[in-house]
């Protein structure tokens, strides 16, 4: 969806007169496009006027207490921060192991003198399967919050004939820290040695980069996994870049929302 198409719908969006699917698509664009977001914000503010112009009605006197009790009850169910982090670390480790054991990319790639694009494609497909499994893990674990948004995507190299590829997953959650996982593979472990360390960034626009971490070494399959949790909203970081030590982009791609993951269970 480009800016022209988005702006055509912003008035209706502000008025709450677009279907939920369309609103989601618009919001994804607004997450990274500052110009459209500014326009949307101004229209939203104008629409807020309508609610304040209504003749005020008196809520029942006890509604305030009920609202406060309700919020406190739900807030109290949140796990303490330390416990959550511990569980998160375990879950991430399990997710990583699941992905690696499922992929077996070392077996696929190791010992191959010439890595064809087909092999890289196959490994990437396996990576994607691994990330799908992580999505399932997230869905079935303590992260099971209907408001969670899981973003998935693949990373590719610009260079023709390059065998390196990657996959990325981000989890944006209102109730737990957000998580990003990036997996790369297909690099020539020997030839890439001089290009290390790789630095991995999440990207929210032309000037907004969030450092995910550094890859100092590759495994025998020319791959690595990087994961990190953030105390900020990752939903608008839809780009992923992997840079070598000279700041050349070696892999890049974007993640997009996986609607099936965000749908609450019946």
């Amino acid at each position: 969806m480009n800016c022209t198409a988005v702006r055509d719908r912003l008035t209706e969006r502000a008025l709450g007169a677009v279907p939920a699917d369309d609103a989601q698509a618009l919001d994804r664009h607004l997450a990274w496009c500052a110009a459209c977001r500014k326009e949307a914000g101004e229209l939203d503010r104008a629409v807020t006027t309508f609610a304040f112009a209504l003749a005020p009605a008196d809520p029942p006197a006890d509604l305030e207490d009920r609202v406060v009790a309700n919020v406190q009850e739900v807030a109290a169910k949140r796990l303490p921060q330390g416990a959550r982090r511990g569980k998160l670390a375990v879950a991430l480790a399990v997710a990583g192991m699941l992905a690696v054991s499922g992929l077996g990319w070392g077996a696929v790639m190791a010992g191959k003198a010439a890595r064809s694009e087909d092999l890289a494609h196959q490994a990437q497909k396996q990576q994607q399967d691994g990330l799908e499994r992580i999505s399932t893990l997230i869905k079935s674990s303590e992260f099971d919050d209907p408001s969670n948004e899981v973003f998935l995507g693949t990373l590719a190299a610009d260079a023709p004939g390059a065998t390196a590829a990657g996959s990325a997953l981000t989890l944006a959650s209102p109730s737990t820290p957000d998580i990003a996982i990036v997996m790369i593979n297909g690099f020539d472990a020997v030839a890439s040695k001089d290009a290390l360390p790789f630095r991995v960034f999440l990207v929210a626009g032309p000037r907004q980069r969030l450092r995910l971490g550094k890859i100092k070494a590759l495994d025998s399959g020319g791959g690595a996994i990087l994961s990190r949790q953030f105390e900020l909203d990752l939903a608008r970081y839809t780009g992923v870049e992997v840079l070598d030590k000279d700041d050349h982009v070696v892999l890049q791609g974007s993640v997009s929302l996986r609607p099936s993951i965000t749908t609450p269970s019946p």
């Binding site: 209706e12 939203d44 006027t49 005020p56 009605a57 739900v74």
Partner: protein, 173 residues
């Protein structure tokens, strides 16, 4: 907002004191019953708590954020409840007598909002009300009125921009 996130009693009460009535009023007017308005108010504050970490004060006002949540939840509910007769609403209606209650800030806020809407023609107010209160899309309005879709979009946008200009510097924070 950090207080809201933690479920802090004082923080939730402070936000309720400021926005509880407008949220309830919107629920009552859109959904038609006190019970539905109370449920909506509960849902709005719970949703606000769940999304509090994502509220960015540098990107928008708290009032806009909360009232947008309220309106979206109310419209979603109306859409789910097929067969519900939606009330016919206008953007500006009469203020009932409210003697004896000191509500200076609320009255000033409403006055500002009403003045902003007075910058619109009757036709513009009716058009915006059909979208905002009834959830009609521009296409649905165009088909009902037999006018081009582009015309409806242009009119909606022009009307909203008028409100925005009339509102500049006067909106609630």
């Amino acid at each position: 907002m950090e207080g809201l996130l933690a479920g802090d009693d004082v923080a939730v009460r402070a936000i309720y004191a400021r926005f509880g009535r407008p949220v309830y009023t919107l629920g009552l007017r859109l959904l038609g019953t006190r019970e539905a308005a109370e449920e909506l108010t509960q849902d709005v504050f719970l949703t606000a708590w769940r999304k509090a970490a994502r509220f960015d004060a540098t990107r928008g006002r708290l009032s806009t954020w909360l009232m947008t949540i309220a309106h979206n939840l109310a419209v979603d509910r109306l859409r789910r409840e097929t067969g519900v007769t939606r009330p016919t609403l206008v953007l500006v209606d009469e203020v009932p007598e409210r003697a004896g209650i000191d509500e200076g800030a609320v009255i000033l806020e409403r006055d500002a909002a009403v003045r902003a809407l007075e910058s619109l023609s009757d036709a513009e107010r009716r058009l915006l009300a059909r979208a905002y209160f009834r959830g009609l899309t521009a296409r649905e309005i165009a088909e009902a009125d037999g006018i081009p879709l582009g015309t409806v979009k242009t009119r909606l946008r022009a009307a909203l921009i008028k409100v925005r200009r009339a509102n500049e510097g006067k909106e609630p924070s």
